[in-house]
């Protein structure tokens, strides 16, 4: 089956500065691909390359099975939503939405029909005669989506479309984009620096750093099996705990030792993994450290820990402690008995931990 978008060995440089290095990505019809990474990682440049707004230095790019490497944006059968919405300020909402069709010479009846359809779909009929300056941020966002939807393209491109909205509206629009994707079954490429947006929206995530793809996979793969320390640290909030530890071979598996300033080292036994180097970085998600009295079970190893800070967050309570010279966060039940300055028996879920090599940052298990 032909991919809807296929990028092979793409390089992009400005002069002697390499922005993107050897990018290979392919998605199928109906996929929601999210490009995520810190600012300056090249994710927006990659999106502009897909759109044809930036020429590619080396490599090939095809959309819908056709080579588009040197095709101009208008002939790529794409639609794009921009961070600043990029609505045409002097045109009404209706004119904004139909501008593309007008340029392509679509007849008036079809234009009206499509405009009506999209306006109903996005509930923006009352706004059609207004200018963008008279709209709120959320309304502008909708109009920008409408301009993309009306095109009915092979591929939708989103460049941080929610980052100009306030927190509440952002969550609402996120849900709406997800619903839209499910309803249309369209293929989308979405750029964001917000890892929660990436996790919630994507069927496939590409994590980028310094113009290089760090990991590509489903949200669950990225979250549960991060390929390196960067991905582990970047995805998830609060971030994954990355604790320096020493390992020792043990009859049943591996014995892990974590230093701590107060008292003897913590010793945990991992029965699933073998053959680890002596020095590792242990990656544990905050939710994999639980109250031993409330949750127990298989694969869990208990340890008595001194809690430094307790942060109630409503649904959860975060407990922060000092292990291996790092702050370690545990996501506990709201009604936990944790008290700052006192010890608490915590259960580490070793079935879900990651190990990384301290020198290279690569995943070991």
């Amino acid at each position: 089956m032909a991919s809807i978008l296929e990028i092979n060995n793409l390089f992009k440089s400005y002069g002697s500065v390499e922005i993107l290095k050897d990018i290979n990505v392919a998605i199928e019809q109906g996929d929601f691909l999210v490009l995520v990474g810190p600012s300056g990682c090249g994710k927006s440049t990659l999106l502009n390359c897909i759109a044809g707004l930036e020429p590619i230095t080396k490599g090939t790019l095809s959309i819908g099975g056709q080579d588009m490497t040197h095709v101009s944006p208008k002939d790529r059968d794409i639609a794009m939503v921009f961070q600043s919405y990029a609505l045409y300020p002097t045109m009404t909402v209706a004119k904004n939405i139909t501008f593309g069709m007008k340029v392509r010479g679509v007849d008036q009846a079809t234009q009206d029909e499509k405009l009506k359809h999209v306006a109903t779909q996005l509930q923006i009929e009352p706004l059609l005669n207004r200018k963008p300056g008279q709209l709120s941020g959320g309304q502008r966002q909708r109009v920008a989506m409408g301009r993309a939807l009306v095109r009915d393209p092979k591929l939708f491109l989103f460049d941080e479309p929610l980052s100009n909205l306030d927190a509440k509206l952002r969550v609402e629009m996120r849900t709406e984009i997800k619903a839209l994707h499910q309803r249309l079954g369209a293929s989308m490429v979405y750029v964001t620096h917000d890892q929660i947006e990436a996790m919630t929206l994507a069927t496939k995530i590409v994590v980028m750093k310094g113009g290089v793809i760090q990991q590509m996979g489903t949200p669950s793969e990225i979250y549960n099996h991060p390929a390196n320390l960067f991905v582990a640290d970047f995805m998830g909030s609060p971030a994954m705990n990355l604790i320096p530890a020493k390992t020792k071979a043990n009859g049943k598996g591996v014995q892990i030792e974590i230093e701590r300033s107060s008292g003897a080292p913590i010793t945990l036994i991992d029965t699933k993994n073998k053959d680890l180097p002596e020095n590792v970085i242990l990656g544990v998600r905050p939710e994999d450290i639980a109250d031993a009295t409330l949750r127990g079970g298989e694969g869990r190893q208990e340890a008595d820990c001194l809690i430094d800070i307790v942060e109630p967050a409503g649904a959860d309570t975060f407990a922060v402690m000092q292990l291996g010279g790092k702050h370690v966060t545990a996501r506990l039940h709201a009604e936990t008995a944790a008290v700052a300055g006192k010890n608490l028996n915590l259960a580490f879920d070793l079935g879900k931990v990651s190990y990384f090599a301290p020198e290279t940052g690569e995943r070991l298990n």
């Binding site: 759109a51 944006p73 794009m80 990029a86 593309g100 392509r104």
Partner: protein, 297 residues
């Protein structure tokens, strides 16, 4: 936001404040009077008869208002051997200024659009050289330009003068439009490209409709420059194509015997009226347009 909770340290200085405010107004009023004095003398003199000028006081109001000097200045005063007033020259100026203003504004808008939104290799150098054009003393280019106009067969013609004004206006018009367009997010151009619009379509449908404030600024600037120009007008014209500024000079300088001050003044006012008119009508847009772009809309 102004701080509403601010109160003066002492309540007794209210009178001092009012006194200071009035001093300021009086000073400003005096300055305004000082600047308006020449205009006052010009206007009153133009309505006096020659006899009255000879016998009367320079700054007194006319005893008897007469429009004779205005009539002579418009259609009878002698500019050298020809005695048709400033009228034919006034129309020459109109024929030069209007096309030159429109052309230089349009080309400046296109230049600015390219430099600000279609970055190309060497765009900065190109813009720097355009800016250089703003600061060239025009005396330097007189001879080469005369040669150019000769080669093009435009020497001494109105199209020749239009050409010169368009070329030397481009530095400023490009600067104005470039600075205006550079504040427009480039995503707008990108969105239009994805929508399928080309170079001119984007300019015409998206950028020009946004440009009213800066068009007003450019038109006022260019109109004032071109209408008031004397150097190019006197250098590159011949009898029959001279602009009004040259005619004014000829009226004042070529009279023999008694100086007709009233006619000179009337002719000078006529020559200055169009620019005055443009400032009065569009002046507020001028100030607004100059600051536009620096503030987000």
């Amino acid at each position: 936001m102004t701080d509403m909770s601010y109160s003066p340290p002492r309540s007794g200085n209210r009178t001092v404040k009012i006194a200071l405010r009035w001093t300021l107004y009086i000073m400003l009023g005096l300055f305004a009077l000082f600047y308006l004095m020449p205009l006052f003398v010009m206007v009153t003199t133009s309505f006096k008869s020659l006899d009255e000028i000879r016998t009367g006081d320079l700054i007194s109001l006319p005893r008897e208002v007469t429009f004779e000097a205005w009539r002579t200045a418009w259609s009878g005063a002698c500019t050298g051997i020809q005695c048709e007033g400033v009228r034919p020259f006034f129309w020459n100026s109109v024929l030069i200024a209007i096309p030159a203003v429109l052309l230089s504004t349009l080309i400046g808008a296109l230049n600015g659009y390219v430099v600000a939104q279609w970055r190309f290799r060497g765009a900065n150098l190109f813009f720097a050289l355009m800016l250089f054009g703003c600061f060239i003393p025009f005396q330097v280019v007189l001879l080469p330009m005369a040669r150019m106009l000769g080669l093009m067969g435009l020497a001494g013609t109105i199209p020749g003068l239009i050409f010169v004004h368009v070329i030397y206006g481009l530095g400023f018009t490009t600067l104005f439009f470039r600075n205006y367009y550079v504040s427009i997010p480039s995503e707008l151009t990108k969105a239009a490209k994805v929508d399928g619009a080309g170079f001119f379509r984007i300019f015409w449908s998206i950028f020009l409709p946004l440009s009213l404030p800066i068009i007003v600024v450019t038109v006022i600037w260019q109109f004032t420059q071109i209408w008031n120009d004397f150097l190019f007008g006197v250098s590159f014209s011949q009898a029959g194509t001279q602009p009004v500024t040259v005619a004014l000079n000829n009226i004042v300088n070529s009279t023999t015997g008694v100086k007709a001050y009233n006619v000179d003044m009337a002719a000078a006012i006529i020559a200055a009226l169009p620019t005055l008119f443009v400032y009065v009508v569009a002046g507020k847009y001028f100030v607004r347009g100059l600051t536009a772009g620096s503030v987000k809309g």
